[in-house]
């Protein structure tokens, strides 16, 4: 009787283990003997100038690139997979845990760096060997991360960088005869007083000039831009063992933001509103958004969807004139801009032949032509200088990117080991300050206390200080 019971238990356990069994690794070759390379990517590109017939939706461009590559490399087959924004942070780590990661991943280096610290990526210095000088130094620098021995290696080949500037709807000032309050097209820089005067002049019951949200960590660089404007830092001198936001400058900056909300310069529901401020921008309820240089592109989509209704003088016509400026800073503080770099990462390869094939594909993707197309399509700064002026038909974008590339890069700690864990903690404290539950000083002190706990308990721990950093 007892033996029979054990038989049942063993059968159940066998059934269970088959249900929970681990996935097998991906096959290296297909039936025709070609090496299979799996390429997963962001849904970044929807249109590419010059490839209108080939690229009609997300994933088309990567399939086009794969076809081009396979035509030149018949021994390799590329399988592309476009992941949506929600899947990207979940599907990739789960695939790694399941032993079936992609071979090549194109994503934000804030995410790929996490894989580097987990030791599951190949270093890629060999891919750009000899052409380092062709890469934008800020983007290349952001992609170099320390290995367990502290040696900086290229964890992802940078493709392009999203740069934050301040996008204005210039028409809001112009139609009211206030155009003289904002910077000129020739010199799109603010003085702090000029910025405050322009905000005060335009704010009113139907316009809260500054578009911002602190409901979640998404888009935190928008609010952090004003911390940097006061000279505050998230991390000091690349020391990722301590968050430095709770400083005199940080408290001043948060105090200014809270006061700006009270003055009606920031929407009253900033603590809980999501991305509605773009809608507000099209409706003329907000006129200045810290943003990338893709607002023109988004504007075309908004016009197509009949969302643009901004009308400041009531003449029934849309008042929209998108104008990029560098974000304002307090006197004596240099402009520093967050740059979010997208790059190509390669997961560890056990098979030498496959590794070779993967590297060949990455070299192809990192060519000037591919990078130029990626950057142009996503309105980002290309990582390679040799792509030339890809925005020659958009002088405003060319001008602002040229100015932006000369600014300091604001360190959000995007490639630090605890980036997401720290980042997720900030919104609750900002919300508490905006809702008047805590003073700015209390909010930042609370944030610092909590992050100290996170960093003490920390995740993976590579060297905190980079050599010479």
């Amino acid at each position: 009787m007892i033996a029979r019971r054990w038989v049942v238990v063993i059968l159940l356990a066998a059934g269970l283990s088959s249900c929970c069994g681990c996935g097998s690794e991906r096959p290296i070759r297909d039936r025709q003997g070609r090496i299979i390379v799996e390429y997963w990517h962001q849904p970044m590109v929807t249109t590419v100038p010059g490839l209108e017939d080939e690229v009609k939706e997300v994933g088309d461009f990567e399939r086009y690139l794969a076809r081009q590559f396979m035509a030149e490399n018949p021994d390799i087959v590329i399988r592309t997979q476009c992941l949506n924004w929600e899947d990207l942070p979940r599907k990739v780590p789960i695939s790694v845990l399941g032993g079936r990661p992609p071979d090549v991943l194109m994503d934000f280096i804030g995410r790929t760096s996490g894989f580097w610290y987990q030791g599951v990526l190949e270093p890629l210095d060999e891919v750009i060997a000899g052409s380092e000088q062709d890469f934008q130094p800020q983007l290349l620098d952001a992609s170099l991360l320390p290995d367990p021995q502290g040696v900086r290696q290229l964890h992802a080949v940078p493709l392009c960088g999203w740069v934050q500037v301040l996008a204005l709807n210039r028409a809001a000032w112009d139609v009211q005869g206030l155009g003289h309050l904002i910077p000129t097209r020739e010199n799109p820089r603010w003085t702090w007083d000029q910025f405050e005067t322009a905000m005060a002049a335009i704010a009113g019951p139907s316009v809260t000039p500054l578009g911002m949200q602190v409901a979640s960590e998404q888009g935190d660089y928008r609010v952090l831009q004003f911390f940097w404007a006061f000279g505050a830092e998230v991390y000091h001198d690349r020391d990722y063992s301590r968050v430095a936001l709770n400083s005199r400058q940080g408290v001043e900056a948060l105090g200014w933001l809270v006061a700006a909300k009270q003055k009606g310069w920031i929407q009253s529901n900033v603590a809980t509103a999501g991305y509605g401020f773009f809608e507000m921008f099209w409706q003329g309820r907000t006129v200045a958004i810290p943003s990338g240089v893709s607002v023109h592109q988004a504007y075309s989509n908004a016009v197509r969807d009949d969302k643009v209704t901004a009308d400041f003088n009531g003449d029934g016509r849309v008042d929209m004139d998108i104008f990029y400026t560098l974000p304002p800073t307090r006197p004596g503080v240099a402009v520093s801009l967050p740059v979010a770099t997208n790059g190509l990462a390669v997961f560890k390869q056990a098979d030498p032949a496959k590794r070779k094939a993967v590297m060949r594909f990455v070299r192809f993707l990192a060519s000037s032509q591919s990078i130029g197309r990626y950057a142009r399509a996503s309105q980002m700064l290309p990582s390679r200088k040799s792509v030339g002026n890809i925005f020659s038909d958009q002088p405003a974008v060319t001008e602002i990117l040229s100015r932006a590339s000369r600014c300091d890069v604001a360190d959000m700690g995007a490639t630090s080991p605890n980036y997401y864990d720290i980042r997720k903690r900030l919104p609750a404290y900002l919300q508490a300050a905006f809702l008047g539950l805590k003073t700015p000083a209390e909010a930042l002190a609370g944030f610092e206390r909590e992050t100290r706990g996170v960093l003490r308990n920390g995740g993976p721990s590579p060297p905190n200080r980079e050599p010479g950093g």
Partner: protein, 299 residues
């Protein structure tokens, strides 16, 4: 008697008994028991993409320091204290009112209160999202018209949690009402009749006859509701942004989800939170059984 019957059970019967259990037993073991055991085990390891390492009680020690986790525990307790008594009281009251009605009226109300259970949390949360909308929501329209009060219900720390609790109450009533109606039907009418003859009014009859006899049903409702509300998640995910504002609506299960599945990938730490919740729920259920589980007889 039963043990005699059991020992007398022949082997083919025993095997067929197991076979009958298998269709439900295998999925239960695979999707409930195994993840539960695995989850508890996981909490003692440091799970990294490159491999796992045994770390003992380290994740539990981390929990002690984690302010966000304890604020989520506080919110969850508030949620339970708000929702469970209201659901218990309301469902009991509604059942007591509906039970004496005619067969069709009873069926109608049973159906009406059960619809939200069938509709599912996501659909209902979407409807409530519209109701709570600060600009064009029904709630602000009504409170504005009737009371002259409009608020950002989910955007204020003092109103967000009670608002979500109200939402959870609306979709939690259906099942307890069904249970109470069934339990009311099980009370012999002679008991009420005897009490009436002894001069007891409606309230005294309810208090001294109905309520004690509903004790097993009440216990079931309290235990299942407590467990259910401790696990509140969908309403937080859909109606708030990350359990905001200022973590005022963040609950333990939402925190677990965020810890495990946002780019933090802290599966083991999330498992420790889940294990702690398991222990807490088990303890609460035992206490509820001890306090309310005394056998009620109709002798």
């Amino acid at each position: 008697m039963s043990s005699v019957a059991s020992s007398a059970m022949k082997s083919p019967q025993r095997i067929s008994g197991w076979l009958f259990l298998l269709p439900a037993g295998i999925p239960f073991a695979a999707f409930v028991v195994w993840p539960l055991v695995h989850g508890v085990a996981l909490s003692f390891f440091d799970v990294q993409l490159r491999g796992t390492e045994f770390i003992g009680w380290e994740n539990y020690r981390r929990l002690l320091d984690d302010e966000t986790f304890w604020s989520a525990v506080k919110n969850t307790c508030k949620f339970v204290l708000l929702v469970v008594p209201i659901v218990w009281g309301l469902s009991l009251g509604i059942s007591a009112l509906v039970y004496p009605m005619g067969r069709f009226a009873r069926a109608f109300f049973r159906f009406a209160f059960y619809v939200p259970v069938v509709a599912g949390g996501v659909c209902l949360a979407m409807v409530w999202m519209w109701i709570f909308n600060g600009q064009y929501g029904l709630l602000n329209y009504l409170t504005g018209e009737l009371l002259g009060v409009e608020a950002d219900w989910l955007g204020r720390t003092d109103t967000a949690l009670p608002s979500l609790a109200a939402v959870v109450v609306t979709w939690s009533l259906g099942q307890p009402i069904i249970i109470f109606l069934a339990a009311l039907g099980g009370i012999p009418p002679e008991l009420h009749e005897a009490a009436r003859i002894d001069g007891a009014g409606a309230i005294r009859r309810f208090w001294h006859v109905t309520l004690p006899l509903l004790r097993p049903a009440s216990l079931f409702v309290l235990v299942t509701q407590t467990i259910g509300v401790f696990q509140v998640f969908v309403v937080i995910l859909l109606l708030t942004v990350n359990g905001g504002p200022a973590n005022a609506t963040r609950t333990v299960v939402y925190g677990m989800y965020e810890t495990a599945f946002t780019p933090m990938y802290d599966f083991d730490y999330a498992a420790a939170q889940g294990s702690l919740l398991l222990v807490a729920l088990g303890t609460i259920a035992v206490v509820q059984f001890r306090l309310l589980g005394r056998q009620t007889t109709m002798d």
